[in-house]
């Protein structure tokens, strides 16, 4: 039971937090700017590398310098919007999608050019789980990731429901035409969307880097699960994205749990699924951990086929 919680469920929750933070940005951009932003993952990578440089310069904990990286990344996102997306504001969506695809490659190349392509640690040394909670094993970094995610989500909730600009973001997401004739400053709303989206992306990336390491493909690798989370939650719905992120993160980790042995449906050492001719060790993971990423993909495909509006009735494609 503790093995399940410590090595499968909690890592799933941590991964889910990271996906959820990233998916909020994708969902908001889709709702307000009406396009799928493929550059979201690499925007995240950029923010993580800025954080890494700040950590190396100052010697402080990444979370202390992350706010500066968020500001830099948000400024970059707004600049990109002005140069690359604004000219296409009234063009067909596909042009914006392609533009974001190009930016994805450009941002990544810039990161690789300036910071190199080798793996780097964000936090040095091995982190031991806190001894007080045994047999529950929880490393400090996971406490920081989960706690940080909760704080950021409460902040987003406050922004969207209590502030003028946040309500306007929901209004534009509802109907850009009505927002325009209501006199809402849509460009201001768009700027805020980039700020929120990139800050959350940087947070997600820094959390992931604290949990694993820093590399130039990290953001791109998150793109698929983040989109899967946004679609699962109903794209355009930031709260749905949070739920979707958690579901996908947990599902990915639990897919590697040795369910067959755990559920006691195995009498010998091997288990045969006769129709598929698969012979597997009872204690082996249900799904080879190498296929984890496939779980998000499978969920996304299933949702697009059977429930394209997502769990929370987002926009349909």
């Amino acid at each position: 039971m503790w093995e399940f919680v410590n090595f499968y469920l909690m890592p799933g929750v941590v991964l889910g937090c990271i996906y959820a933070l990233g998916a909020i940005g994708i969902s908001l951009t889709f709702g307000i700017l009406r396009f799928s932003n493929f550059a979201h993952g690499d925007t995240m990578t950029f923010g993580v590398y800025v954080t890494l440089s700040l950590v190396l310069l100052s010697g402080l904990h990444p979370l202390l310098v992350a706010p500066i990286a968020m500001a830099v990344t948000a400024a970059m996102a707004i600049g990109i919007d002005k140069l690359f997306y604004k000219p296409f504001r009234n063009s067909p969506t596909i042009m914006l999608v392609i533009a974001s695809f190009g930016l994805m490659l450009m941002i990544r190349s810039v990161v690789q050019f300036f910071w190199g392509v080798q793996l780097q640690p964000m936090v040095k040394g091995i982190q031991m789980p806190m001894q007080e909670l045994r047999p529950f094993l929880l490393p400090m970094k996971h406490v920081l990731i989960i706690g940080g995610t909760v704080i950021l989500m409460l902040a987003v909730h406050f922004l969207l429901t209590r502030t003028r600009i946040g309500k306007a973001m929901r209004a534009v997401s509802d109907s850009p035409e009505l927002a325009r004739v209501t006199g809402i400053d849509t460009e201001k709303v768009i700027r805020m969307t980039w700020i929120v989206g990139s800050c959350l992306a940087v947070a997600a990336g820094v959390f992931l880097a604290m949990d694993t390491h820093v590399e130039t493909m990290m953001g791109f690798k998150l793109l698929l699960p983040m989109f899967a989370a946004a679609i699962l939650g109903g794209i355009g719905k930031p709260y749905g994205a949070v739920a979707g992120g958690l579901v996908i993160g947990i599902a990915e980790e639990l897919s590697a749990f040795p369910w067959i042995a755990a559920l006691g449906v195995c009498d010998g050492n091997t288990f045969t699924i006769s129709t598929l001719n698969l012979v597997s060790n009872c204690n082996a993971p249900l799904l080879n951990p190498g296929y984890k990423a496939g779980v998000a993909f499978a969920i996304m495909v299933a949702m697009l086929i059977w429930r394209p509006q997502g769990l929370f009735r987002g926009r349909q494609f």
């Binding site: 929901r170 997401s173 509802d174 009505l178 927002a179 004739v181 809402i184 400053d185």
Partner: protein, 240 residues
Amino acid sequence: MNRVLDIADLHAGYGETEILHGLNIHVDPSEIVVVVGPNGAGKSTAMKAVLGLLNITSGTISLEGAEITDTPPTEVVTKGVSYVPQTHNVFVSLSVQENLEMGAWTRPTGMAERLDEMYALFPDLAEKRAQPAGSLSGGQRQMVAMAKALMVDPHILFLDEPTAGLSPKYRGQIFETVQRINGTGVPVLMVEQNAKQALGVAHRGYVLVDGQNRHTGTGAELIADPEVARMFLGARAETA
């Protein structure tokens, strides 16, 4: 005395297609002006032209004596024109109160007082202020849309077919509301399909056909005009 709105010899349309061919409409202070006409006559198009949503080829639009031809929508709203579109005129996922707050985007001061005024003018909305606007009935949504438009204390209110798709009971209520709003001193320009009822509350009316003026007169004159009656008011059924 300046006219509140003056549309003079306006030629406009969507892209290359011209829909309005020399249109003239004006609204004087505290008037209710109703525009009627068959489908495709350019009634709603005229409103959208004022809002800066159309391609204007020639002619002028003035608001309180100042020309506003080709001004972008956000600026037109700031100058005092409030517009209630025919459909999709509320933010469905926002609460009633949030809709009103968004209506006041260009005039954010004195929000609490404005909200109180609106709930006094539309008492039905007060108890529904926390509900999503999308959960309300068609008639109530129309009330939210009007209240939202009034939040900026507009110099003129545009209503695009406010009774479209509503039951007769609600229709009467909407026209009463329009008169009540006008009673607070707000001039109203209204496009309507329910021509007879609408002209009944109008100070003046315009009949448009093919993007041009066909008839002009007081509401009563237009209702009495035999040609107008034959064209739009279902006179045959009455004389029969």
